[in-house]
């Protein structure tokens, strides 16, 4: 690891000032992703700005008293166990608890989780010569390499990486809003616009600007919490990234599905939602809902590679299973 400066500002303004003025500065939250990447040589910060003293760890209803505001520094485990999250947003709790290990969740934060980087091995290990995300223009080692965990939707010929986060898949169905602050003041980014598709700039994971700080995630109120599911398929029973995951949140009233929100994880550079797919079961009786068509529409245009062919089938079955479980849960 290179030598670096460590600073721990006490307020947001100082933090923003530091990130703007110091060369190669990075925010340090739980450090569970940043330090790994640093040790591998993917990241080489010269200034580490510890943001743990910024007072951003609260979990409470939004200022208008509705919904929930989760501070960017709230620990993944605190969020998962919080009574309001358990009662109002159980899918978020389940997604968080499906991720990593207790030790990691105790350290990892909401902001850090939003920003965690892909697990593509060609990205993670700089000894691999080709990775457009790590070294723009160097090629994509995964395209013709070992691409078992890679994307089947929304990828480009520049990059076929997936976003590895469980939490973000749940945030996608909760229509979360990411609150950020930067030199130009505060702004709010809908979760669907927070992560981007790789396109010609796979080096950019998100639309967060270099000098911006995530302060919180806002969740609008949920009408129906009963029919919420997080399904994660993985290579061992715990402590493994998702091969494919599904977050589903349905509202069912008077024998019909009044709203359906479904997001797929592990298939794209961002959690994958498709309003047209969701519309297919809106207003439909849960007993006759065509979940297979929802799955097919969600996966429309999917394209697999040598080692991730299985994802086409697995994603389809996962969607159908998640929706079946969601309507069955009471």
């Amino acid at each position: 690891m290179n030598n670096f400066a460590y600073v721990r500002p006490n307020d947001i303004d100082s933090a923003l000032n530091l990130i703007r003025t110091r060369p190669k500065a990075r925010f340090l939250a739980g450090g569970t992703n940043l330090l790994d990447l640093w040790k591998m040589g993917v990241e080489q910060p010269q200034t580490l700005i510890d943001i743990s003293r910024l007072g951003l760890a609260d979990i409470a209803p939004r200022p208008d008293g509705t919904g929930l505001r989760i501070g960017a520094l709230a620990r993944n485990s605190d969020v998962a166990e919080h009574s309001l999250v358990l009662s109002q947003y159980p899918v978020l709790s389940r997604a968080l608890l499906a991720g990593a290990s207790p030790q990691l969740r105790n350290a990892a934060t909401v902001g850090g989780n939003l920003m965690q980087r892909t697990r593509c091995p060609y990205f993670y290990d700089p000894a691999f010569p080709s990775c457009n995300k790590r070294k723009p223009g160097s090629g994509c080692g995964a395209l013709n390499g070992y691409n078992r965990i890679h994307a089947i939707l929304g990828q480009s010929d520049q990059c076929i990486a997936t976003n590895p986060s469980d939490m973000c898949v749940a945030l996608a169905v909760l229509d979360a809003q990411v609150r950020v602050i930067g030199p130009g003041g505060e702004r709010v980014i809908p979760i669907g616009e927070f992560h981007r598709l790789p396109g010609d700039h796979p080096e950019l994971d998100s639309t967060l600007q270099p000098n911006e700080l995530i302060t919180a995630v806002d969740l609008p109120p949920m009408a129906d919490t009963k029919h919420a599911v997080y399904l994660k398929v993985r290579d061992r029973s715990l402590y493994a990234f998702a091969l494919v995951s599904v977050a589903a949140a349905l509202a069912i009233e008077n024998g019909s599905i009044t709203s359906a929100r479904i997001a797929l994880g592990g298939v794209a550079h961002k959690p994958w939602r498709e309003p047209e797919a969701e519309a297919l079961i809106q207003g439909v009786s849960p007993d006759h809902a065509p979940f297979d068509r929802v799955a097919d529409r969600l996966l429309q245009g999917a394209h697999a590679y040598r080692y991730n062919q299985y994802k086409l089938n697995l994603a389809r079955k996962s969607v159908i299973r998640a929706l079946s479980v969601a309507v069955a849960s009471v």
Partner: protein, 746 residues
Amino acid sequence: MAQTPSVLGTPRHRVDGKLKVTGIALYASDFKVDRLAHACLIQSTIASGTVIEIDQSEAERAPGVIAVLTRRNAPKLQALPEELSANGTPGESRLPFQDDQVYFQGQHLGAVIAETFEQAREAAALVRIRYQPGELRTDLLGLADQAIEPRMFGGRIKLQDKRGDVDWVWANMPQVRLVNETYSTPIENHNPIEPGAALAAWDENDHLTLHVSTRGVDLTQKVVASAFGLPIENVRIVCPFIGGHFGSKGFSWSYFLVAAAAARIANRPVRLVLSRPQMFDSMGQRARTVQTIGLAADENGKLAALKHSTLTHSSMIYEYTEPCGNLTRLMYACPNVQINHHLVHLNYTTPCPMRAPGEAAGTFALESAMDELAVKLNLDPLELRVRNYAEKDEFDQRAWSSKHLRECYDRGAAKFGWSSRNPKPGSTRDPEGRMVGWGMATAVYPANQQPAAAKAILSNDGSIVVRSATHEAGTGTYTAMTQFVADTLGVPMDRVQFELGDTQFPPAPVNGGSWLTASVAPAVVAACAALRDKLISLGVDGPSAPLSGQARNDIVIADGRISSAKDTSQSLSFSDLLAKTGNQTLEADGSAKPGDSYQKLAFFSFGAIFVEVKVDPDLGEVRVTRVVGVYDVGKILNPLLARSQLLGGITFGIGMALMEGTIPDMATGRMVNANLAEYHVPVFTDVPPDFGIEFLDVPDPNMAANGARGLGEIGIVGAPAAIANAVYHATGKRIRDLPITPDRLV
């Protein structure tokens, strides 16, 4: 007079347990020395080619750097002599710094030595290397036509072997050819918790003390002394604890030679600890295997012919063959058997033994094929195995020293409830809709004994120290040997201190092949028996002896005392005996080697494993929900330790069956998952709550260590096949390629 009841065979907690959980036990990298410097390896980032230039200028200027070790300034290492480098000897024969060739990713090209570990690591990242890339060999199947036919495994076991005439049966009896399938196992890495670690310190007289995590202190001493051209007594290897090895840490790996070389050029003690990614390229691995099994049988399931052909790989610099056919030769009665191994040299790191080398991967193939045969013949898989029961070792035409496998089958089946199994695949679902499958397999593992020696020392406070240059890998050596000492000398276990892992102690074999207890215990017993004799002599010989006049046969050694059986008033403690006879200490040596029966009989341990799996029908996730294993491993010396060994072994089997695999990138030869986030080993929830392990506990009459055959690796043998067979029974899908991850089932 009451004899102290034997502590052998009783459940005993680990004597070193407290040291370990309180952090007092010192592992190789824990030792403290003055002026310690730290080394970080410089490794190749290509798999094949030549080093043109190593630019270390930036690294040399980095903060804290003491020296940069490369081929240019490395001490000249002597090529290893034939006895340490020939095929079958345990080690990479190419020493570091020998030439500028690169043979695999991560090859050691040097090291940076700095004041702190972090500085060494950072400076190592600043070293720039220019290469001339060479031809890249990464594709086992693509290069299969260049395979060689290796002759021997470990210099002992033939890798091309046959009895009868398999080809004739195959050619002339097509009606009985029933199974001809190919199975594969991936590259796997041992991943013990403790990484490879070395702490090297030279003194002014050219003596080297090397604390290193090794399961072969004596072998390491020979390799290091030979490489540095030193008299053997100039090198001392110390390793009181090993944080697991599972087959690694036994070879002559390059990293501890690099550590010693670094200490030499830095003129300071140097510590070198491998990182987790380096554990995937610097200390061996199990090579990938592609195995074809052919089975021919009559309608009653009696095997007529059996062929087992293995394609596997070694590195470019060493010949090591994963010996998958070893057990196939003798597991079942069959007149015609043919075993072949083919080896391709590839640009991957050198493979080495790992968790039942050959046996684990080989029985996955053979026992899967036997399951396929049972299905074809509409026979119960267990019944098929009983019909082909081997009454003797048909390969060497030797009788078994002791074999009670039938009883393992019977007890295991009864405990598991096997008789209620519906043979139809996919016939059972659990209440949650998961498919339930039951599978079984046979486990066999050779029992060996190697020569070993020990020294026993009684002190005037009555305590006893026994020493042998053996190893504690977490398996319980300290505890088991303490039990033997206590038992032989009639003292409580807490008066005994067993010491190991030091080349200054009497020699003991490399820890491997599950032979440690069977080899070292007889030596420990011999030393203690010799000490006992000396005690009796002190007690009775000569007119002034404290028990003068008593017959030797009437002397009882028990409870730390020497007493007359005839006259109970005639009794004194060991310390009084030493005091009265003017001795400070009393010492005795002992050694043991395999007896004559070793050549005449076949020594093996056996077991039967039954498992239940549940498989998600849509998502392909497999969970092992129940395991029953019944084992015939000879006498059980300590049921707690024995159970732990099997628990661990079977858990490794779960890992091998369902998740483990190191995956190379074919374009670069670099491993894509060289870390523990992506190389999956079982976590707690992968291990079933219902883990039924039983031992027959029948002593082997021809094993010196009270009839114990030693145990460890047998746990992983059979488990992967039993799981794969259960997956077939649950789903109707035969998965012949490990690991059985969800993608193979959806």
